[in-house]
Symmetry: C2
Subunit: 327 residues, 2 copies
DNA sequence: ATGAAAGCGCTAACAA
DNA sequence: TTGTTAGCGCTTTCAT
């Protein structure tokens, strides 16, 4: 099926059809409807993609943690069902790599991009908002030009997790979070501090320790150092899965029991293949990564124009409570 | 830069350039060289892709195990360096899904496909060999028309692993492998049996047990059942990582010590994030997944024609010996 | 906002 | 194997 044929059966000129396929908004609503109805009735949707976004690209730091892998699988489930070409690029948290990737697609106006930014630290966006439709995921950026955001409500989740720890008997909780370059780490810290304040606990800011979201050893080192320097704590909020692994190892070596000596909640799923082997009873704060993936992809496919209104979606965490939060 | 311009500066007609870009072999070597030299000298390689494969697609069951994830990362490292569009599709081991994906790309002659087949059980190939260039990975298929294969030498690796177990003192080794629908499972069984035969151990075929490569519980159940039914064994070759996890859990619950009561080697890396937390001293048979990924991608990008000669690459395993194989 | 018509860039047919 | 030429399909221009 060619434009000329569609023009013939719809009584609309080839030029108008051509315009419509490139940018639906450049054609009057009634004309568009006429052509679309014909496409639907004759089942020609496959020949002519009338959507604004005809393929999707995922730009993401890596696929090394379960959140990203679930996110990826969610996206795949949508693109595969809709027969949408799907590309993936890894930035390895490098802004330069990210810019290279964006520069290569700047002329592909039919490309929708699902983007997990490499870092929050940047002066400008790496793309032109008139070239690509972007669906931001997981890490927030403070630019006016980002219209679609799929974010985790880290602040509320962290606040609630801390509430649970304190209501579970913690008198002296701490948080071990990641670099403040990451909005996640920042927001999880802020939610923690909010709960601390609400419960009238003192020394809020002194309860915050900074590790590395990509390095278990940093969590391990922090716990070991605290104990060595006799800095007291009776409860830990681990701000991600990778830190939690190091923290748990340190607690084990120090023979501190969970939850009696130290209660704990961690962000992210600790479970994976090995959960079959190793029972773990650590309470988790889990964001619906798969759903975030399906939604961030679907919302791109629904776009009919570049002039999209702001669509900011905040996902709430699920709490998988297994007892480790209660003394 | 357009064909017309290249035609002008090279003194070759637009038609010939067009032909050359579509299939380099349709143009005389000297003419091709003349045009290619101009492209190189003027740095126009970016405008005209003179390769046969202009983009790469990975068709793979899933990304849930470390072998596939490493393979994926190897491929990504190549496509990203070469600025090659890269798509990925998951089949979830469904041949129907696989056929759908192939049918959608059958007219994209510039697409190179890296393919991990969903299953060995099939009557015909799901693609036309004149439409796409395929690089088969990990699972073998017995069709004449597959010219590029990147396979693991499962037979030799399994034979050597079994040799190590027996030389380490095993008198009564068994293998727990996967469904015979998978060439991996098949070949690992055959390598095991070869070693058994070479060492003049009896009852070869009775030493083989079949679990499910995707289900740890099957490995767990087999070990439990063997002990319950008092079927003796003093050594296990676990034919993949997922089975190994279940096997290890069963051995732990049965209080069978490794390697004294039962020596063991497993295929695939057991290490992952949790290796930081959980020390494991299990010997592993590991294929170079990352390298297989880079090679299977590179070999596609090097193709200059559809009439490619057979290129079958067999990768040897690395043995990460940690003592669990020696009694 | 639309259609007629010209234009663009690539490909296929054909002849040498 | 190559160039000429006609053609195809889509886009852009321009006039209304």
């Amino acid at each position: 099926m060619k434009i000329r044929e569609l023009s013939r059966i719809s009584g609309v000129s080839t030029a108008t059809i051509s315009r419509m396929l490139k940018d639906p908004n450049s054609v009057k609503e009634s004309t568009r409807k006429k052509v679309n109805d014909i496409l639907k009735n004759k089942g020609l949707d496959k020949d002519f993609n009338i959507k604004c976004v005809k393929r999707i690209m995922l730009i993401i730091p890596d696929l090394s943690n379960t959140f990203y892998l679930d996110l990826f699988n969610g996206i795949v489930s949508v693109v595969q069902k809709n027969h949408i070409p799907f590309e993936i690029y890894l930035t390895n948290e490098s802004i330069e790599e990210e810019e290279k990737i964006f520069s290569r697609i700047k002329d592909n106006r039919d490309m929708g991009v699902i983007w997990v930014p490499a870092s929050d630290k940047r002066d400008k966006l790496p793309y032109n908002k008139n070239s690509n439709i972007i669906s931001l995921v997981d890490r927030n950026l403070d630019f006016e030009d980002i219209y679609i955001k799929n974010l985790s409500d880290n602040f509320s989740a962290s606040k609630k997790a801390t509430d649970l720890l304190i209501e579970g008997g913690a008198r002296n909780p701490i948080i071990i979070t990641g670099s403040l370059n990451l909005s996640n780490a920042q927001e999880r810290k802020d939610g923690f501090l909010e709960s601390i304040k609400n419960h009238n606990l003192d020394n809020g800011i002194n309860r915050v320790y900074y590790g590395d979201f990509n390095n278990s050893e940093s969590g391990y080192d922090i716990v070991k150092k605290l104990v060595k320097e006799k800095i007291e704590f009776d409860s830990i909020l681990a701000a991600n899965q990778i830190l939690a692994v190091g923290i748990l190892k340190a607690l084990k070596e120090l023979k501190l029991s969970i939850p009696n000596d130290v209660s704990i909640i961690t962000f992210d799923k600790l479970v994976n293949l090995y959960s079959f082997y190793e029972n773990n009873n650590i309470s988790e704060v889990v964001f619906p990564a798969f759903d975030i993936g399906t939604h961030s992809a679907s919302i791109l496919l629904e776009q009919k124009t570049f002039n999209t209104p702001k669509q900011i979606c905040n996902y709430s965490a699920e709490f998988h409570l297994k007892g480790s939060e209660k003394k």
